[in-house]
Symmetry: C2
């Protein structure tokens, strides 16, 4: 049994053991933690949530560590969630946390934690959203969410962060270039890390050029039409918002977001990135776009949670065997998938 008010009180006070416990329970998909999260809801919404994402090998972990130091020097407290796609079997996350925490071991203003999302019904984004709220309620000024990933996870991070830092790196080959084109719209601050490597300036130029193209194409009505409009529209809004905030000390006069070089190993260039994140934060707040972005993010969360609520009904033994029988019908070609879903939906709703 959880003593909900006591757990919430300890989280609010920033007790690292209470934070660790709550986040582990989120990670494991323990439904009892929801009562604690409900109790904390009134204390959320104060932290600025910064997503840091980019391809593997781009040095995000080192960069995030330097962001933490920079924020600490500015007198702000920082919670870090490192989303670790480790499997349910190997669970390498915990060791990594211990190593990373060592450099901030005596600093109560820093909390670093990996999430492997072993059991959360809402998957990665559901668990990260809840864990970020725990750190928010614990009073951290900034919550950094670091995702190792390419593809869907970058799209997801846009749904929970107030500001997105997109990290690139020179020399990762053509695949990466293609990916960059695809995820360009989600960044608010662009970083080319490992800037001491050959080709860093070329990557900066490429990103600028892609951003200019995206700025032109971003106005396309396609992004707001069709079945996927609700989903895709988010990118569009993010991009439009960027233009609106560019007159508030963030980005350049043409609405282009900053593209900055860093060498995370030495810390070079980290200060200006944090400056840009803070400028973006201030601009979002001044223009009222922070609230709009959060409304959109909560909208995504509600949609996701709604689907999960329905799936939870599939957890009963009766529903499981019904689903199994319908899957058999499909494989044996007695029904097609669409008919099977109709049957299941009628029975469960």
């Amino acid at each position: 049994m959880t003593d909900v008010p006591e757990a919430a009180r300890r989280i609010r006070s920033g007790d690292p053991r209470a934070l660790a416990r709550a986040i582990s329970r989120i990670d494991d998909g323990d439904p009892a933690v929801i009562e604690v999260l409900k109790a904390l809801h009134a204390d959320t919404g104060r932290a600025h949530v910064v997503g840091v994402t980019g391809p593997p090998g781009s040095g995000k972990s080192t960069l995030v560590d330097k962001f933490v130091r920079e924020y600490r020097e500015r007198g702000l407290t920082v919670g870090v969630l490192a989303v670790d796609p480790s499997s349910p079997f190997t669970g390498g996350a915990i060791l990594g946390d211990r190593i990373r925490m060592q450099s901030h071991a005596l600093d109560e203003g820093v909390y670093i934690r990996s999430l492997a999302t072993r059991g959360h019904l809402g998957g990665l984004s559901g668990a990260v959203m809840e864990a970020a709220r725990v750190l928010d309620a614990a009073g951290f000024d900034r919550v950094l969410i670091e995702t190792v990933g390419v593809g869907q996870s970058e799209v997801d991070i846009v749904r929970l962060a107030d500001t997105v830092v997109l990290v690139s790196v020179p020399g990762l080959g053509d695949d990466i270039q293609v990916l960059k084109a695809g995820i360009m719209e989600i960044g608010d601050v662009f970083v080319v890390n490992k800037a001491d490597r050959d080709g860093a300036d070329r990557v900066v130029r490429e990103i600028r050029s892609m951003l200019e193209t995206a700025l032109v194409n971003g106005a396309s009505p396609r992004a707001l039409s069709g079945t996927g409009a609700a989903d895709r529209g988010g990118h569009h809004i993010a991009f439009a918002a960027r233009e609106a905030v560019s007159s508030h000390g963030y980005g350049d006069a043409h609405g282009l977001p900053p593209v900055l070089k860093t060498t995370a190993e030495t810390g070079e260039g980290v200060g200006p990135v944090v400056d840009s994140v803070e400028a973006h934060r201030a601009a979002l707040a001044e223009t009222g776009l922070l609230r709009e972005r959060r409304l959109r993010n909560v909208g995504y969360e509600l949609r996701g949670a709604l689907g999960n609520r329905l799936l939870a009904r599939l957890g009963t033994p009766d529903a499981v065997s019904r689903l199994d029988r319908l899957a058999e019908d499909v494989v044996e070609k007695r029904r097609d998938v669409y008919e099977a879903v109709d049957v299941l939906f009628e029975e469960l709703c």
Copy 2:
């Protein structure tokens, strides 16, 4: 208006323009294509579906092209779906298709197509599953699904492929090593590409060692318990299945799957990889595990589609404004997320 029987007939005959049209409609999320898919259902289930996945920069596209050649030399026809995470704005997929198709331009036994999943309500995996069925119904002997991705997309591919080829590459840094640990369980055939690079043998050894560890840990009951059991169990079954098929000419005597080196550029090592995929296919069929794997995959699909069916109800103007008001309640702290979902679920179900 679609002439459904005519569209289905042309797809069954393998008409490339009919395939292109159907897959574009799937990609765009056009609901009318469902009638065509229903009409094709009885003609599916014959192709062996091979997922090819791994980190960006691992040379998957070149490798897949070599797989296509190898299969063609063996007298088998091949459909390829390249899952392209390009954004809805930039849409670089089409150009890539044209370049890739050129080397097989006069060969009717090959069809290559990118999917950008611009509008499909079921996201990437829903669209890929449907597009794979189209190629299956068109009579291709093998359907190769190539995903550029790290993280969730590898987990998803397990839900639609009969055999999963996991591609690694030397020298991609520590992030990749971490990722490998996490996605190890999903591969049936492991490939270390760019084997002419330094460190290829070390990567082979590391993968073998991780597989041995996973084989031991894989039996943990954790994988089959907890909220996420239904999801996670799939990996467990995949892993257990691998042991069961190892006595049927696939993998080694200890249940370890093959780990093979390739140099996709020259084609070196591609033959043995295709041999292993085919051995895995034969072993799955002989042991009855092919049907079990497909039942599991359809089960995942039904779960996903069920959630989407509910989300589709959110598409009406009334539901949208209701969702918006509830998101506002959450941001303004009048309700917590869980309460908002309860309200929404009651209203929609």
